[in-house]
């Protein structure tokens, strides 16, 4: 087909009756159309060749704080699936790229995985910006894609599955816990980007539902590491709790400067983001003392699946591994859910796999049993409230079971399968 088209192009070029549009099209696609045509239909299930799968994560650059645990979890999960027979009795062959904390590398490698590697599934992306950068290409190529990281929520896309926890799950539980156990006055410090803005809206929403009072919200640019003025302001406003929606290496400085100024005795920090970048590892235990967080997963969870998982992880990566984060758990869950769905569908065909994923699939994960919500393509998580301890880790103090990922029911991919969007919550 490609060759024919080229011949047609050359012939019409010779006769001088080619529109500019045709010329561009002809020179551009001729030999590549075959590749596009093949995309989305992977090899037949009877083959015994390995199944190509792809991963896009940041091993270098500033985002690698978050990328490294997911890279480790990915390799571990692939080996685990292969050691149990792979999918459809075929082994997985992982092609992974270092996206170097830059968004256009994501787009390039995503294209490579779709057009050259012909990966059956692509998993990866750390920041929401990286996910939104590749989503147009994912949708254009109708590629099955998993995003395994905590984020601001709302992605509603037939080809996309999100295994990370979202703010409504963490904050409905954490804000409630704060009002009962700490106090009703809250001051929010949020990283000045999408996650911070959306999460701070959720905080306001749950506070007003529970009769709490929001004393103020400060959005802090991501490159700020001098919190002197913020700390003075907190002392003036005197909230019972500081809701920290701070993110990234620079913002770690806040916890340190907060403790050094002697504010730990005056107010308590609660946060759905503290720990994701191993903040409790970087900080000394006395600096992070009393900070309360809410995640599905902690390394300290006592269920048997987790105990085995942690011990296998330490066997594999050494006992000196800093701390196994919630994201690592989400990455592990993503790969296993996909493998379960392929085996259930009995095929690698994209539509059949999506159908299997939408069948109310559940998985016994380190965080406990998770269930995939068919309508929103997100997970129903158990959320645990925990407090920092003296060993750079957390002590769990309360568990909330089976929290829905989409409390407002905005996303229904069963009813509207053609949706490819990201909702923001309507909380006014």
């Amino acid at each position: 087909m490609g060759r024919d088209e080229l011949n047609v192009t050359l012939a019409s070029l010779a006769q001088g009756r080619l529109s500019r549009r045709q010329f561009l099209h002809g020179t551009g696609v001729a030999l590549g159309t075959a590749a596009l045509a093949a995309c989305g239909q992977t090899a037949t299930p009877t083959s015994t060749e390995p199944v190509a799968v792809g991963s896009l994560l940041d091993a270098t650059g500033p985002i690698n704080i978050y990328g490294t645990p997911l890279i480790d979890a990915t390799k571990f999960a692939i080996d685990d699936i292969n050691s149990k027979g792979g999918v459809l009795s075929r082994q997985l062959k992982l092609t992974s790229f270092d996206t170097q904390s830059t968004n256009d590398k994501y787009v390039q490698y995503a294209n490579q995985l779709m057009l050259e590697t012909k990966a059956a599934v692509i998993m990866g992306g750390i920041t929401s910006a990286s996910r939104e950068a590749i989503r147009p290409a994912i949708d254009r190529n109708k590629q099955l894609y998993f995003y395994n990281e905590q984020y601001e929520g709302g992605v509603c896309d037939k080809f996309v599955f999100c295994t990370g926890v979202v703010p409504s799950q963490q904050l409905s539980t954490l804000v409630g816990w704060t009002m009962t156990n700490v106090g009703k006055t809250v001051y929010t410090l949020a990283a000045d980007y999408n996650y911070g803005h959306i999460s701070s809206d959720w905080v306001k929403f749950y506070l007003s539902q529970g009769g709490g009072q929001l004393l103020g919200v400060d959005f802090i640019p991501l490159d700020v590491s001098d919190f002197a003025s913020t700390i003075t302001k907190l002392q003036q406003r005197k909230p019972a709790a500081v809701m920290s929606l701070l993110v990234g290496g620079n913002h770690i400085a806040f916890y340190r400067q907060f403790a050094a100024a002697g504010l730990q005795d005056k107010m308590k920090i609660v946060s759905p983001t503290f720990g994701l970048g191993n903040e409790q590892v970087v900080l000394a235990p006395n600096e992070s003392k009393g900070i309360t967080v809410s995640y599905p997963y902690y390394q300290e969870l006592t269920n048997s699946t987790n105990q085995k998982w942690v011990s296998d992880w330490h066997t594999r990566y050494g006992s000196g591994y800093p701390y196994i984060t919630d994201s690592a758990n989400a990455g592990w869950v993503g790969w296993h859910l996909w493998a379960l769905a392929v085996n259930k569908a009995g095929s690698l065909d994209r539509d059949k796999v999506i159908k299997a994923l939408e069948s109310g699939l559940s998985f016994d994960a380190p965080e406990g049993t998770v269930r995939l919500d068919p309508k929103s393509h997100h997970l129903t998580h158990n959320v645990n409230i925990a407090q920092t301890n003296a060993n750079h880790g957390f002590d769990i103090i309360q568990t909330f079971n089976a929290i829905s990922p989409d409390p407002q029911g905005q996303c229904d991919l069963i009813g509207n399968p053609d949706q490819h969007t990201q909702f923001t919550p309507s909380l006014s």
Partner: protein, 288 residues
């Protein structure tokens, strides 16, 4: 406004000014006296932070560790100068390219050695209470350290024979050489001194910031802005620029939000350079 609040605001403003001054001084020396644009300046800070962190981890007293950070990054700077910068004098653009490469290498090397996250140093000393406000005693240390660093640099460049020669070598290299000044040597010392100041800054910041390999990137833009807005006066200019930029950032952040504070810092820098194209100290008599 009560007195305690005023005290808290003043300490907080001085703390921001001191921080900006501390992170910029090393760059001011290297850029101001050598016209070398060191794009790895942020990574020199980061190395200082990791040096202090490593020293405390093996049991060295924290204050000694901070000084060690200055010494070790100074030595590192000396090595970089000998191996790399020395070949590039008079090639200001190539120096940029090389130091950019160096910064990439340093970030990733530190990541491979220490991992993307590692245990940091807690802030030493406690907090000080004034009325209903309290602030970190360490912020007083930072203010004091900034003043001390200024004094030392001033002393070195005005009272030592090296300092006079270094300034001469900058103002008129061929004349300085004709007078028998070994400019290669003064350049080497200046670069090492600037690196050492950056390392010391890293050591001083380590207990107040999250020590991660990308630490330097947060500081590089503001320190360049401070040095350039300051103009030709290495000490007077940088101090004045730190005061204006750090002070306005802190106060605007306090009365509005850190977003507007950060924007104000950038806009003030732009407007100042437009109004005073030679920097704050451009028309001042004392050129240091």
């Amino acid at each position: 406004m009560h007195l305690d609040q005023v005290v808290a605001i003043v300490v907080s403003v001085l703390g921001s000014v001191a921080t900006l001054l501390i992170v910029s001084l090393g760059l001011a020396v290297i850029f101001g006296l050598m016209r070398v644009i060191n794009l790895a300046h942020g990574e020199f800070l980061m190395l200082g932070a990791y040096a202090a962190l490593t020293a405390t981890r093996i049991g060295v007293n924290i204050w000694v560790s901070i000084l060690l950070a200055g010494v070790s990054v100074g030595i590192f700077g000396l090595v970089v100068e000998r191996l790399l910068i020395r070949h590039l004098y008079g090639r200001i653009l190539d120096t940029m390219l090389a130091t950019w490469g160096l910064s990439l290498v340093l970030v990733q090397a530190v990541t491979l050695i220490f991992g993307p996250s590692t245990n940091g140093i807690g802030t030493p000393l406690g907090s000080l209470h004034v009325g209903s406000y309290s602030f970190s005693q360490y912020s007083l240390v930072l203010i004091f350290a900034a003043a001390a660093m200024l004094t030392i640099v001033f002393w070195v460049f005005t009272r030592t024979s090296y300092g006079v020669m270094a300034r001469a070598a900058v103002q008129n290299p061929s004349m300085a050489q004709a007078l028998g000044i070994n400019t290669a040597r003064t350049n080497m010392v200046t670069f090492a001194l600037g690196s050492s100041l950056a390392g010391l800054a890293g050591g001083l910041l380590a207990p107040t910031a999250g020590v991660v390999p990308s630490l330097g990137q947060a500081f590089i833009a503001q320190s360049f802005m401070t040095v350039i807005v300051g103009g030709p006066g290495v000490i007077t200019g940088t101090s004045a620029a730190s005061g204006v930029l750090g002070g306005s950032y802190n106060l605007v952040s306090y009365f509005t939000t850190p977003f507007i504070g950060q924007a104000a810092l950038l806009v003030i820098a732009i407007v100042l350079l437009r109004l005073m194209p030679q920097g704050l100290s451009g028309n001042w008599r004392r050129q240091l």
